[in-house]
């Protein structure tokens, strides 16, 4: 089985053991042990909700710094499309790319090209999977499906995201120009921790091979200093349809799909996936899903309020004068195909009978617990606590309110 990577972690000294993250983690991946938060790797999907809610700044996810991009002969930066509406007003996205270039990169790749490529292929790929097709740019959503909804694999579009497509194209281009693999540095400027994790994982992917992710919030102050905000707002070299991919609903608009659902927020996504699994979502062609509110513009490393950013994004899109005309080659489709999703095991035990025993035990324990989900035991709910006990991760005595019949 492939290794599962994470980027969200805890600075122990800052954690005081409050229950904010415990209670807000949408996948119950956090416990409080000995007065400190502990993240269970097998449950965490790197959505960053704990970072959002922690009042003490104890949860973090860190990308690499600009200095750490040194050591490559050629350095290429792929900015997320969410970057362009982060400046409080509509600006010319070409100016943003110019400013990024001046921070020490050899090329700032236009990701809107990859968005247009993806849109073109996506229209066909949607028809190859079960209805509703699920397409997501969001690594946290993918991890959620892998972990809790593996049966939805047949619905997931088997295609790389524009971010990964960009990396494939860049590597190909510079290899052709004679650069060696290890001389090319490819970096993603990310709006969220979820992509920091994904890029870490892709470092070891031969086809895609990223070299690091930089958080937008890290680069932002430097960018503000060199950005020309006052230039003509119209632009001709960046695709307006590509910019649609920044917010929830944009993908569907980009591919001209009407009969779609765009769901954002992990809890909303969980509810929707449950409905899809039950066969309740029938007449829908396409589902876009995002961990963050309003899609990628809700990313944790972004500066602008996501709702305002969406307003600004739409204004920028309206000033655009072109989209890439992508001619589809068969070779494209195979080049940008993605493997099936991983199926991450959530089973209790390797053999069936031990698992049955554990579940019986767990149900017995649940009946002894008060059902108030107070969190004092360090688990986020009585149900989660019972599961922890049978897995040997917690002890029954940790519950202060256990009903008679408990040991």
């Amino acid at each position: 089985m492939k290794e599962v990577f994470h980027s969200v972690s805890l600075i122990e000294e800052k954690c005081i053991g409050c229950t904010k993250c415990l209670m807000n983690c949408p996948v119950e991946a956090i416990r409080i042990k000995n007065g400190k938060a502990v993240i269970y790797d097998d449950k965490c999907i790197d959505c960053g909700e704990c970072i959002r809610v922690c009042p003490y700044g104890a949860h973090v996810s860190k990308g690499i710094t600009l200095n750490e991009t040194a050591g490559y002969k050629v350095k290429v930066l792929i900015p997320s499309v969410t970057l362009y509406p982060q400046f409080g007003q509509e600006i010319n996205p070409e100016e943003v790319n110019k400013a990024l270039l001046s921070l020490g990169f050899d090329e700032v790749f236009d990701i809107t090209f990859s968005c247009d490529v993806k849109a073109e292929i996506l229209r066909k790929e949607i028809k190859k999977v079960e209805k509703p097709a699920i397409s997501t740019l969001c690594p946290s959503i993918i991890r959620l499906i892998e972990k809790d909804f593996p049966s939805l694999n047949d619905h997931v579009v088997k295609m790389l995201t524009p971010i990964e497509i960009s990396a494939v194209l860049i590597r190909e281009k510079y290899c052709k120009m004679g650069y060696k693999e290890n001389e090319i540095g490819i970096f993603f400027l990310t709006p969220c921790p979820s992509w920091i994790t994904k890029i870490k994982e892709l470092k070891y992917n031969e086809k895609i091979g990223f070299d690091g992710a930089i958080a937008i919030s890290d680069i932002y102050p430097k960018l503000l200093k060199v950005l020309n905000k006052s230039s003509n707002k119209n632009y001709r070299k960046i695709s307006k349809t590509g910019l649609l991919w920044a917010f929830s609903g944009g993908q569907s608009q980009a591919i001209g799909m009407d009969n779609f659902l765009a769901v954002d927020g992990i809890k909303n996504a969980i509810k929707l996936f449950n409905d899809v699994e039950n066969g309740k979502i029938k007449d829908v062609d396409y589902v876009e899903a995002y961990a963050c509110t309003r899609g990628c513009l809700g990313g944790l490393f972004l500066i602008e309020n996501p709702f305002n950013a969406e307003r600004i994004a739409k204004k920028i899109i309206a000033n655009g004068e072109f989209s890439y005309k992508v001619e589809l080659h068969d070779e494209f489709q195979s080049k940008f195909a993605r493997e099936d999703i991983l199926k991450i095991n959530t089973k209790f035990a390797d053999d069936f009978e031990s698992a049955v025993k554990m579940i019986k035990n767990m149900n017995k324990i649940i009946n002894m617990l008060p059902g108030t989900d107070c969190g004092l035991c360090g688990s986020p709910s009585c149900r989660a606590f019972a599961e922890d006990v049978v897995k040997g991760l917690a002890s029954l005595v940790d519950c202060k309110f256990i009903k008679d019949g408990g040991e």
Binding site: N278, T346, K347, F348, D350, V356, M358
Partner: protein
């Protein structure tokens, strides 16, 4: 074959909001047992249809999941009007769902046929004015 584990969920009549919770719980249970995803999906679809049938047509009932070494048996039993003509009810497109349920997208008349398609064994029994009981078996 000995029954290893059985869990029962009450299903309330007319509760469209919580309808589906039994199916979701059973899904989670099967994941914890390590059952394959494609099999879980079939069980999910059958179980959800059965659960919603109780919500829509009956006065209330229960869903029981019985786990055996090699299979799951789902029993969905309700108190209610029963089914007058089972053969007719098993036909695709035939529905007795009330208008309000159809407006919500239920009652397309695919419930029982879909349930039968999703599982390996399907048994249905009903007494007019008393109850309906569906038993579904899926082998692991």
């Amino acid at each position: 074959m000995q029954e290893l584990l059985s869990i029962k969920y009450d299903v309330e009549s007319g509760d469209f909001i919580r309808g589906g919770e039994a199916s979701s719980s059973i899904k989670k249970l099967l994941q914890q047992l390590g059952i394959k995803a494609d099999i879980i999906k079939r069980i999910c679809v059958a179980c959800y249809e059965a659960e919603m049938n109780i919500v829509i047509h009956s006065l209330g009932g229960y869903i029981e999941a019985k786990i055996f070494n090699n299979k799951i048996e789902i029993v969905a039993k309700d108190k209610g009007p029963g089914i007058e003509n089972i053969d007719l009810a098993m036909k695709e497109g035939y529905s007795t769902a009330p208008e309000y349920a159809r407006e919500m997208g239920f009652g397309g008349g695919m419930g029982l046929p879909n349930m039968k398609k999703s599982c390996d064994e399907f048994y249905i029994e009903s007494k007019i004015g008393e109850y309906t009981e569906v038993r579904m078996v899926v082998y692991f």
